[in-house]
Symmetry: C2
Subunit: 356 residues, 2 copies
Amino acid sequence: MTSKPVSLKVLAAHLGLTVGTVSRALNNYADISPVTRERVKRAADELGYRANQNARRLSIGNPETVGYLMPRFGNSIAQPFSAQLLQGLGEALSRRSWDLLVVQSDSSKDELAHIERMVRSGRVGGLVISRPAKNDARIRLLQELKCPFVVHGRTASCADYAWYDVDGEDAFVTAVNHLIELGHSRIAFVGAPLQHQFAQDRLNGYTRALEENGLTADPELIQIAEFSDDGGEIATNMLLELSNPPTAVVCLSDTMALGALAAIRAHGLQPGVDVSVIGYDGLKFGVHSNPPLTTMAQPQAHAGRRLGDMLLSIIDGDEPSQHQELRRAHLVRRKTDGPLHLTTAQTNVSNREETT
Amino acid sequence: MTSKPVSLKVLAAHLGLTVGTVSRALNNYADISPVTRERVKRAADELGYRANQNARRLSIGNPETVGYLMPRFGNSIAQPFSAQLLQGLGEALSRRSWDLLVVQSDSSKDELAHIERMVRSGRVGGLVISRPAKNDARIRLLQELKCPFVVHGRTASCADYAWYDVDGEDAFVTAVNHLIELGHSRIAFVGAPLQHQFAQDRLNGYTRALEENGLTADPELIQIAEFSDDGGEIATNMLLELSNPPTAVVCLSDTMALGALAAIRAHGLQPGVDVSVIGYDGLKFGVHSNPPLTTMAQPQAHAGRRLGDMLLSIIDGDEPSQHQELRRAHLVRRKTDGPLHLTTAQTNVSNREETT
DNA sequence: CTGAAAGCGCTTACAG
DNA sequence: CTGAAAGCGCTTACAG
């Protein structure tokens, strides 16, 4: 199908030189005369010669390619991230004209097999993985294979590999402190299953902030649901139907927070007035929610770029553990956080508590 | 850095066979005795042998890799699409264990050079491109290079290549007809610059539907702005400040429609009551807008998968023009479409018109 | 059924 | 400064 590209051999024949000489001219070897170098380059341009990369990479023993393991989302709206990440990664790699391969797997068992195949078959010289589990099998495998890698996020013990992460614990401390300053004390946490470290980190921040403010975390105010808008909605419904419901809720992600807003509105309450909500991610979309979502915004823009640069450095020989970068999220106030403002129902509960 | 993978040579030595025999055993050649075939495969598993892909592909003369040209978005929330598309593409390719390379470029000039390099260097056996311009230079280049490709979207003349598209003209006919059935006649179009064919197609649908209903398209009701939520907001502001504003607006995309909703609310009007809005795309996010967005939903889920399958067929020798697939969008009614309902200001205008 | 050899298209010491 | 040759790790006719 594809028209046969011109090879080094035909280029050399065209010039009356040997392939070795032509190759060295093209690669700017010092021992090639400037005049033939120019002659060779001109001819290469004219004939549209491009070195065959499979051949070149086989010869130099370097795939010059990095793999990105796509995280599997459901139909979640959390997807915009990977596009941004890919863009940044691609930018970092393109400066050295490395290629970016995307890899995806259905199951996590599948994923391990995929990884092993990728590196054993010499297809990639490094890998980037996202959203690690607390104790991530992929990381152990990659270490065993001695394949350079970098992770977007962290595991529980994050000492001996390279990672880039945003401090979820810190972010949730900030969010909860903000709500406490607004007068809230019954603050709920809407989260997702804790096998992912980021889910645990953010819960830790929530708990720590309450403790630091002399409040005790009420177990019934911690709701774990599916990591999606629907999950957020279900969890928030549970919270609102408590005999003593929260006046504020922090959500694991903006996506879950959107579900929380829906639940609050469905209960005839006004987000940001009757119940405050703070999300996490800083998705641009939150500007358009009802009402606009207050959130802890990640400095997401540079993640891909940083991960790519880190990976390249490690491939060049850097010690992975030297490359660990923790960024901070910042509060973006929109319209879903507001001062404590008890509804009649909530006031009744408070009064009842005071009298008991 | 990476531990040296085991090669065919060491595997053969380990077995006391030649590399040729081992290779044929692994590739299920019929002329290899079943017993040695098994013996070879077992040993390969034990030693963790994986054929080096650079070598293999060089030898068979097939890169077994497809490139995806990432469309450049701004910080748009239209990005979720590419993630879904990648997923589908990856699925299609993985069934034949082909790889997926993502390529991105800053400028379109850059992009042409990128494409040429990709195919001339034998890195990809096919390419998928998105959002073509009306007359897209990439398509001409790819045809010149005789490189198999498939496009997501169409150009103005879409006869001689393979594409997958959703019928934007049809979608906008449906949307406008729906609004007319609701009693609207002053219907505006909020769009983006027309160099992309999809922008033109949707405008054509708008115009055609008006004509088919005996209405004439009022030029001042067609607003072209930047392809983003901000663009949608600016365009809609202009519309609402017209002396005779529209009672409904169809928007090029959900993203632009979100901007339209913001503009309408900012004017103290209620989307879906005072002014109807219909978007396009069917982003899940629209469920959470204020109010939830009525939209023409694309059957986006299978686009990637279909494009991948088509490309593979063409690489196998199919005539590209045999693979042209046009899907239809369908109306998803949420809360921003409603029956004609004139505000006082609008009624005044109408009255004035009636009296003149 | 297996071996020996050529070839895929490059790069890179080694001669001269 | 350039040529001749080996090698990267595979696949695949061709012998036997």
